[in-house]
Symmetry: C2
Subunit: 318 residues, 2 copies
């Protein structure tokens, strides 16, 4: 297929063939996807998420493959945040007719690549014409056994707060993109991992399942901002969460980026979202891959070292 | 809440509260929804579908509630077409900030209303700002027992073709809307059911499960056009399907609409989609609620009374 062809040139069926060639699954191709049987006594977990061109991604900053990878990461983080195992994804794309086929193929490749880390598959989808490019991913997971899912309302007084994944990196990457675009000046090449953290964030797959096995009770992912997401957990659980400033302090990469951009790296840590860091609470020791970042106590609200956080706002939908 | 308020006025959290008030579910409100345990030995079935403002619906023709109902019907028909039982839906909306809150509430009410016929619930979703209104529904169902799902490739020579639901009504309704808008002249009030068939189509819930129990082997729904959808089934199954012109002939309502619009009602029957009529094949008698409309034989392609169909085109995505 000619790489410069558009969706309107090739038509719906050819686009679907491109997607299923890039992200093959034997479960795809009928009115609906019938998943492999879940292990006995398991429950199905589902989450959905929209990405709008110009709002959740910019095509001049992110490659199609990165957009696909990030779309899966965002959704699978929500499945992991319940302590469940992602097993399948559905992709729905609304796209202008002049969208290059190569864009859709790239997104599908990114999806397949990121799904493969979870042994998950792209099992179905929908594609339709639209004046605006919108990508919707639905993630499906299985939660094995009878132990409770890791819910926002299950943080308990006396527990510690634990986290898996970087905090503030995606927001710092966004700030760098806003200043320099995708082409970082050569003298700042060491900051490139922050750009990656924004365009194609990464979590070690399976940490949600590990956390549930290790008796984490509450969990969420840092999608809207650390203070906002921990605040939601505190509010829903009816507890106070205090974060340890030492444990969450900006790392050298964030300090370096802040020096370049002449800003306060704490803003990225406290108010930046999209890291999809898993944040949980447990009375036991931190599960493998997690570190302690705070404590849960009686009361309400969220503090850092007992103080009101310097930055508290987060992502706002409207 | 003031009915004239917009999404931008009230913000994301208030919109989510409106949606969950209109379509309540105890499974909603966390990072992902954990469904009730499926019956033993059942498989999860999933399908997703986008509706774009101005392309899949027009707000001057359809009420928000109808848009919500149709969104669920479209998706649940895909679940039923596998022989499965719809149990849950996820709603993702991308909407301009000036969208009235009442619109989103109406969509959610329509979703809840239609879900209730299936004992299904709206278990999760996403809402985000966008320059264009796009509604995505993901449907989840359970397929009980070890019998095969009703796939497009399972039509067999010697079977009869059976159908549940009207054929051509949604397309006739669209033609009426294109001519008269929503306000049918009083002398044509008897045609209003065709408008309904377009704006809020209806299938008797559970027919897919019944069909599977009654040994239907292949099934799809008439979403893109009868000839196109049956043609897909014939092609995927490697068979020839012949439809019985008497069995699918335009009913009096279609003839009446065709007389008003001075057109051929066969176009609606053969090329009109969006009825979501369930179409299956079986070697047994037609299941309860289904009627015979054709036969499956050796060969390929699709005919009507042995002839090439007069209209064969259908919905094209691009």
């Amino acid at each position: 297929m000619n790489l410069s062809q558009t969706l309107a040139d090739v038509g719906e069926q050819a686009v679907i063939r491109e997607i299923t060639a890039a992200a093959p699954s034997s479960l795809n191709g009928d009115d609906a996807a019938v998943l492999f049987a879940a292990p006995p006594n398991s429950r199905t977990v589902a989450s959905t998420d929209l990405m709008v061109d110009g709002r959740h991604f910019l095509r001049e900053w992110s490659t199609p493959r990165e957009i696909g990878k990030k779309a899966i990461l965002r959704n699978f983080a929500d499945i992991e945040a319940m302590g469940a195992r992602p097993v399948a994804a559905l992709l729905a794309i609304a796209a202008p007719g002049d969208t290059p086929v190569s864009f859709v193929r790239g997104v599908a490749k990114g999806i397949a690549e990121h799904c493969s880390f979870y042994n998950a598959e792209l099992v179905g989808g929908d594609i339709t014409k639209s004046d605006l490019l919108v990508i919707n991913i639905t993630a499906i997971g299985f939660l094995g056994g009878s132990r409770a899912a890791l819910t926002l309302d299950a943080a308990r007084t006396g527990q510690k707060v634990v986290a898996h994944g970087a905090i503030g990196h995606a927001a710092a990457g966004l700030s760098l993109l806003q200043r320099f675009g995708r082409d970082l000046p050569a003298e700042h090449a060491d900051l490139y991992p922050l750009i990656d953290a924004h365009c194609a964030p990464w979590l070690s797959p399976g940490r949600g399942v590990i956390a549930r096995a290790a008796e984490v009770t509450a969990m969420t992912d840092n999608s809207d901002g650390l203070i906002q997401d921990c605040g939601t957990m505190a509010q829903r659980s009816g507890v106070h969460i205090d974060l340890d400033a030492d444990a969450i302090q900006p790392d050298p990469l964030l300090h370096a980026a802040a020096a370049v951009l002449d800003c306060d790296p704490w803003q990225w840590v406290l108010a930046g979202g999209e890291d999809h860091t898993l944040i949980g609470t447990t009375a036991k020791q931190a599960p493998s891959g997690f570190r302690e970042i705070g404590t849960v106590s009686r009361g309400s609200g969220i503090t850092v070292d007992g103080q009101r956080p310097r930055y508290a706002e987060g992502w706002a939908g409207f």
